[in-house]
């Protein structure tokens, strides 16, 4: 398992750059990861979604799907794409320190 330093902390990541231990995550890490994803500033609307995803993963053990986010966090799909352009479910999962959302085969 690879590790890397984000916002001054050493965390475990997989080969695609997703953190593998959600407990190592904190808000400063999120800010850094968001920048890597091309989001220069995390607004309140971003945080609402990130926090929903963290909560959801705590109970289910995995990152929520796009539809679970829109139904659960009360944002429209359109807004979600505006907040986390191109593949919001994957992007927010990475920023929230969760694994990649599992697509079923």
């Amino acid at each position: 398992m690879a590790t890397r330093v984000i916002a001054g902390k050493t965390v475990q990541v997989n080969e695609e750059g997703f953190m593998t231990n959600p407990a190592e995550w904190d808000k400063e890490i999120a800010v850094e990861l968001a920048k890597e994803e091309g989001i220069s500033e995390l607004t309140e609307a971003h945080w609402k979604v990130i926090e929903f995803c963290r909560e959801s993963a705590k109970t289910s053990g995995k990152a929520p799907t796009l539809r679970q986010i829109t139904t659960g966090a009360g944002v429209s799909t359109k807004e979600l794409f505006a907040l986390f352009p191109k593949g919001p479910a994957k992007k927010v999962a990475r920023i929230a320190g969760l694994g990649k959302p599992e697509g079923c085969v």
Binding site: F81, G87, C104, V105
Partner: protein, 410 residues
């Protein structure tokens, strides 16, 4: 008498009723099946209808052919399930009490969930092969189509038979070759997935096959709406794709009655234990086939392997023994690839589809993740097996759980 009610008499409901009628003492058990439709549909056949390979008569049979001795089929819509009171209300006024309930109400398409999809161009330049009527209309359309840009779009995953859109494209490539107009047809696959398929090895191998066949993939494409008059689809990230012919796999959802009864998730799928199919919420409800949220493929072959493991587990359960985590997510799908050939993929929860031979290691006769004629025959033979063996709850000489023997580590 103990009462077992099976909701939905499609692939999974029919198989499980037949299997349990063999495993249970039918002097002590009463099995009641309920379905709104007296006809059983062989859905895998829908894929072949647009290309004139199958017609309506190849994919329908009366449901009552498949009702096991000692069981009863009621034809009526199910109105509501009251899991707290162990009863089910039917539209025909009947109330059914149960000791155990098996939900097998499947999944279906919802084109109305995508703006513009099922409006004035539906059945004209916009089609689907995910319903019998849709497949028949598309067959007519394709037989006279002069060419242009054909776009296949999957609205959202999960869908039934996730390989079907790829098969459709590969068959379309072959079909237009046969009609002598392939040079006038552009084939595009707009999918929410990051590539041709989900898992790395198969995605790469299938992706290469699509390239060889001149089929272009537009990945990570989440459709927002269709503009039927302008003949284009638009994604949430504003990518526009124009089409002359759009073949859509609309949003798939569990049965509305599941949502109405408070048993479903955001897509009306019932949350279950993925190894045993026991409902997370009720200890006397099991969910088989496409109706559950188990992260396995929504496919008839999966339902078959699931029923194999479930039968054994159910007998344990009613004796008071605990359920064993028997189901491993095993799926086994034939893919038509056109020109009389096909592929086969075999995988489970843990192991992605890999190349190799199946079911006999090194011998086959089927080739995993590799085109061959024998796989195409396997796909056609599957229909016979479905009607004559699978639905009747016969065991096949194939292991219900996946085996690594015969697979090559890629």
């Amino acid at each position: 008498m103990k009462k077992l009610v099976v909701l939905g008499a499609g692939t999974a409901g029919t198989m499980v009723a037949n299997r349990l009628s063999k495993l249970l003492d039918m002097d002590e058990w009463q099995i009641t099946m309920v379905d709104q439709d007296p006809v059983h549909y062989y859905q895998p056949g829908y894929l072949l209808i647009p290309f004139g390979m199958y017609s309506r008569k190849d994919v329908v049979k009366p449901k009552h052919y498949f009702v096991p001795r000692g069981a009863k089929l009621i034809v009526s819509p199910i109105e509501r399930i009251e899991p707290d009171h162990n009863r089910v209300f039917l539209a025909n006024g009947t109330t059914l009490d149960y000791d155990f309930l098996i939900i097998a109400t499947g999944a279906d398409i919802h084109p109305e969930e995508t703006p513009g999809l099922a409006e004035e161009e539906w059945g004209k330049s916009i089609h689907t092969f995910y319903s019998l009527e849709g497949a028949l209309t598309l067959a007519e359309k394709l037989s006279t189509w002069e060419g242009g840009r054909l776009v296949v779009n999957v609205v959202e995953n999960p869908i039934k038979c996730p390989v079907a859109p790829l098969e459709f494209l590969m068959l379309a490539d072959w079909y237009f070759h046969e009609r002598g107009i392939r040079d006038r047809v552009e084939l595009i696959y707009a999918t929410p997935l990051p590539g041709a398929f989900t898992k790395p090895v198969s995605s790469k191998m299938l992706g290469e096959l699509l390239v060889q066949k001149g089929i272009k993939v537009e990945p990570e494409y989440m459709i927002e709406r269709v503009e039927p008059d302008a003949k284009k689809i638009i994604s949430y990230d504003e990518r526009e794709i124009e089409f002359d012919l759009l073949v859509s796999v609309p949003l798939n959802m569990g049965a509305p009655v599941i949502g109405k009864s408070g048993l479903g998730d955001e897509l009306n799928y019932v949350p279950v234990n993925k190894y045993t199919f026991l409902s997370d919420a009720f200890a006397n409800i099991f969910v088989l086939g496409d109706a559950s949220n188990a992260p396995a493929s929504k496919a008839g072959s999966v339902a078959h392997f699931a029923v194999d493991t479930f039968g054994e587990n159910f007998v344990r359960y009613i004796r008071g023994q605990e359920l064993l985590p028997l189901f491993d997510g095993h799926a086994n799908c034939f893919l038509e690839s056109g020109f009389g050939k096909g592929l086969l993929i075999d995988f489970n929860y843990e192991t992605e589809p890999l190349p190799g031979r199946y079911p006999l290691p090194g011998i086959g006769p089927f080739t995993l993740l590799e085109e061959s004629e024998v796989n195409h025959w396997g796909k056609l033979m599957f229909r016979w097996m479905y009607w004559n063996l699978l639905l009747k709850g016969q065991e096949l000489p194939l292991s219900a759980t996946m085996s690594m023997a015969g697979k090559w580590k890629a």
